[in-house]
Symmetry: C2
Subunit: 238 residues, 2 copies
DNA sequence: TAGTGGTCTAGACCACGCC
DNA sequence: GCGTGGTCTAGACCACTAG
């Protein structure tokens, strides 16, 4: 991310705090804000769009920009938008756990032969990346795996959501790649099982195996980092 | 959406088809593409970013832009990116059904008193919008409802995902608003029940009630439009 | 009609990848 | 070093909303 872009976010948050703006309050017009924050309007809008994607702002054409529910992050969180690494990783794993199993189940129901073939190719790439310890290839093929599951559902919205889930997750592979052989193999084996479940059209297994896999993942990570994984899985029955 | 932006998407898709580009193939550089498609680079990049968000493209800094898995949409779908209204609505409802129940369960576990108060206020706004038949207020407060659920989970990733889910859904309220009093009341009552479940910290009920609510919603809509709702709910047990 | 956000342009420099 | 995508600028016009 650019230097300016980050600065814009910080200054924007600082501005909201300084002005004691509350939910529903209106921000100054974009042209004015860009002068106040000392950036071009385009750059400002990049930042605004980012906050809009988090539900913090809402833009109304012809009217103005308003603070939204969710603006309270400014109070509780010091940095608000970029949080510490551990939190990002924890949030990501939890989001996976809550969302991917259902997508996998749906994929098992609707996948066609070509798509299953794709998924198998994806696993091959994944395994190559694991044995050769190639970070980028690993992150990419794993993202692909989830992307393919979403595509299998034939639901465009889900594709977009998985893409959002996949974004900004490069960090945690740094830790994973350092992990021991065992965890890698367990996790990889897990992916293979998921594909097999989908091949059999076994909806329930597909969902459960994905869950199991994410839990393995989490346990592997918690052995290296101090991420409390325990409280993530109280919702297992849902 | 702007005229140019739509044109860019169309021309981009046409370009990929004409050149017979397949997965993994590299697109021309941005500066070149912007000339080919006769738009500025900024505008082009808006379009590229949109396709990237759908997992169709992938940009590699210093290297190039590549077609990704998921590019097959060009084959199956005529328009590829913007599909017909019915499909958009169906996809949206299904995505809700697969994702929101788990988020509601998680919210029931973690919500604090202030947030529950917020949710109640939100319902009040929702009910006002329903009785007065204000389309925008209705869409907005319903989006808020889901947004608040995500915020309650204290998981930033989920907030982003719900925001993605909420986006681009203005259309289907057009239909809803024409619906009969009964459906409206049933749906509204459903929201109230969800809030009560969260208040009681009843994780299971929160999840189930949300599901029930989405099903009601779908049935209400299918009475007006010809949306096949039946096949959406084969995954109920997961 | 005035003011707002939305889109678009042409051009500049930066940071990374690859040779 | 060179080409690529990433960021940033300043300024223009369009489309919508509100008074």
């Amino acid at each position: 991310m650019g230097i300016k872009k980050k600065e814009v976010l910080e200054r924007l948050i600082q501005f909201v705090k300084d002005q004691q703006l509350k939910r529903g309050d209106k921000l100054p017009p974009e042209r004015e804000l860009s002068v106040l924050l000392n950036v071009s309007r385009t750059t400002l809008r990049e930042g605004l769009r980012m906050l809009e994607a988090r539900g913090i702002l809402i833009s109304r054409r012809g009217s103005g920009i308003y603070l939204n529910r969710g603006a309270d992050v400014f109070d509780s969180q010091p940095g608000a938008v970029p949080t510490d690494e551990d939190t990002v990783i924890k949030d990501h794993l939890e989001a996976r756990f809550l969302i991917i199993p259902n997508i996998a189940a749906c994929a098992a129901e609707r996948a066609d032969e070509n798509e299953i073939k794709e998924l198998q190719d994806c696993i091959v790439r994944l395994s190559r990346a694991i044995v050769s310890r190639e970070l980028n290839a690993l992150a990419e093929s794993e993202a692909d795996f989830f992307r393919l599951l979403a595509i299998m559902t034939k639901n465009h919205k889900l594709v977009g959501i998985v893409e959002q889930l996949n974004s900004g997750i490069e960090i945690f592979w740094d830790y994973f790649i350092k992990s021991d052989e065992f965890v890698n193999n367990v996790i990889f084996a897990g992916y293979v099982e998921v594909v097999n479940a989908i091949k059999r059209r076994d909806v329930t297994s597909a969902s459960e195996l994905v869950k199991r896999n994410i839990i393995n993942f989490c346990e592997g990570l918690s052995r290296i980092k101090n991420i409390p994984c325990r409280d993530l899985f109280g919702l297992k029955k849902n």
